[in-house]
Symmetry: C2
Subunit: 199 residues, 2 copies
DNA sequence: TGGAACCGACCGACCGTTCGGTTTACTGTA
DNA sequence: TACAGTAAACCGAACGGTCGGTCGGTTCCA
C-alpha cells in the first residue's frame, strides 16, 4: 500500500517478473538454445505477449546479466569504501562476499558466467565482468605485495583459481537442497586460505 | 609412416580433423550458437561437404565430449589400478591429473563442461560426467574417512569446490600464453591442500 | 576408372519479430 | 450501483530469414 498501485493485482507480468521466468529458462536450456516459444510456454502467455513487456530476447539477457553485474560492482564499491582492514582480511572478505552474492543472485550470476559473446550485449557484459575480475585480482595482488600470501603461487594465477572456485558454486548450488549461503561462503573461505589438508 | 596411409595427403578432412575445427568453433560461439554454415566457413569447405564426413551436427558434439570423457575415465581407471598410495596422496594425484588432462584435452573438456542437456546426446554426456564426479568424490570421501582431511568442511562440498577450481581452468587457459600444464597443476594442488595463506 | 571429397541448389521446419485486433482491469462520472 | 472510457495485457496469424539436413551431381586422385 505504501509503494504503488501494484502488489494488489497479480497474475500479470512486469518486465522484472517476466525476467525471472526468462532467466530460469535461459539457465536451463542456454540462451541460444531457448526460443521465444520456450519462454512463452514457461511464462504461460503467448510469444507475442512477451513483446508487450520487453523489446526482445536480447533485452531479457541484458537485464539479466546487468542485475548480476550491478550487485557484484556494488559490493566491490562497498568494500573499497570501507576503512582499511588488513590486505589479507580484505581478500578474505572479497571471497566471502562473492559467494554470498552469487547465492543471493544465483540465476542472474549464473547467466552472466555463461555469456558467450555472440552479440553486442553479450560482449558488453563480458567487458563489465572482466573489469570486476580485475578489481578482485587487485585485492589479491595487494595482499601478495604486503607479503600476506604464499610466495610460490603467482597472484594472478591464484586469483583466477580462487574466484574460479567461487564461481563454480553456480554449477551445483540449489537454494532448498543445499547449505545456507553463509555456510558455503565459510567453507570456500576456509578452503581457499588454509587448504584441505588436516593440520 | 607406421600407422596408416594418412599423414601423407593433407588438405582433406577426416572425421577427427574436422572434429578439431568444429570443437574450436563450438567453444567460441557455443554449441547452439554455432550453425553448420559457421562450421563450414571455419573448415573452408561447404556445409554439404561436412555431411560426407559426419552424420550431422550432433555427431560432432558427441564425438567431442566422448573424447574428453574417455580421457578422464581412462586416467581414473589407471589411478584405481595403481598400488594403494595413502588416501591423501590419491586425492592429490587425482587433482593433479585432472588438471593435466583438462589442459591436454582442453577443447574437448571445455566442450564437455558446457553441455546443457537439450538433446539425448547431451544428457548421455551429462550422465557419464556425473559418474566421473562420483568417482572423484569417492577419493575425497575415503581420504576424509581416513582422517586425512580437515573435519570442518563436508567432504562432498569439498569435492565440489576442489574440482570446481580444477574445471575453472578451462575458462581462461590458453596453451601458448600461459604456464605449462604441470605448473598449473602444481599450483592448483598447492592451493587446494595448503591454501593461499602464508605460513 | 572407381570411390572419396566436395559442391550448389534446395527442402521443410523453426527462428525472432511484427501487426491488427480482442480481452481485461481499473478509473471517473452520474 | 451502473456504465462509458481508457490503457495495459494479451492473443492468433503471419512475416522474412535462418536453421540443420538432403540430393544429384562434379572434381580429384590413387
Amino acid at each position: 500500500m505504501s509503494t504503488e498501485t501494484a502488489a494488489s493485482r497479480r497474475t500479470t507480468y512486469t518486465p522484472d517478473s517476466l525476467l525471472e521466468v526468462a532467466v530460469a529458462v535461459f539457465n536451463e536450456r542456454g540462451y541460444d538454445g531457448t526460443s521465444m516459444e520456450d519462454l512463452a510456454r514457461a511464462a504461460g502467455i503467448t510469444k507475442s505477449s512477451i513483446y508487450h513487456h520487453v523489446k526482445g530476447k536480447e533485452e531479457l539477457l541484458e537485464r539479466g546479466v546487468n542485475r548480476a553485474l550491478d550487485a557484484l560492482n556494488g559490493s566491490l564499491d562497498e568494500m573499497e569504501a570501507l576503512p582499511d582492514a588488513g590486505e589479507l582480511d580484505r581478500v578474505e572478505q572479497a571471497v566471502f562476499r562473492a559467494v554470498q552474492i552469487l547465492v543471493e543472485e544465483l540465476p542472474y550470476v549464473t547467466l552472466l558466467l555463461r555469456v558467450r559473446g555472440n552479440t553486442e550485449a553479450e560482449r558488453a557484459a563480458q567487458d563489465r565482468r572482466r573489469e570486476i575480475d580485475r578489481r578482485l585480482a587487485g585485492f589479491v595482488e595487494r595482499a601478495a605485495d604486503a607479503g600476506a600470501l604464499r610466495a610460490d603461487v603467482d597472484p594472478h594465477l591464484a586469483s583466477r583459481l580462487v574466484f574460479g572456485m567461487v564461481n563454480s558454486v553456480a554449477e551445483w548450488y540449489r537454494p532448498q537442497r543445499d547449505l545456507a549461503a553463509d555456510d558455503v561462503a565459510a567453507a570456500v573461505t576456509r578452503l581457499v586460505f588454509d587448504g584441505l589438508r588436516r593440520r
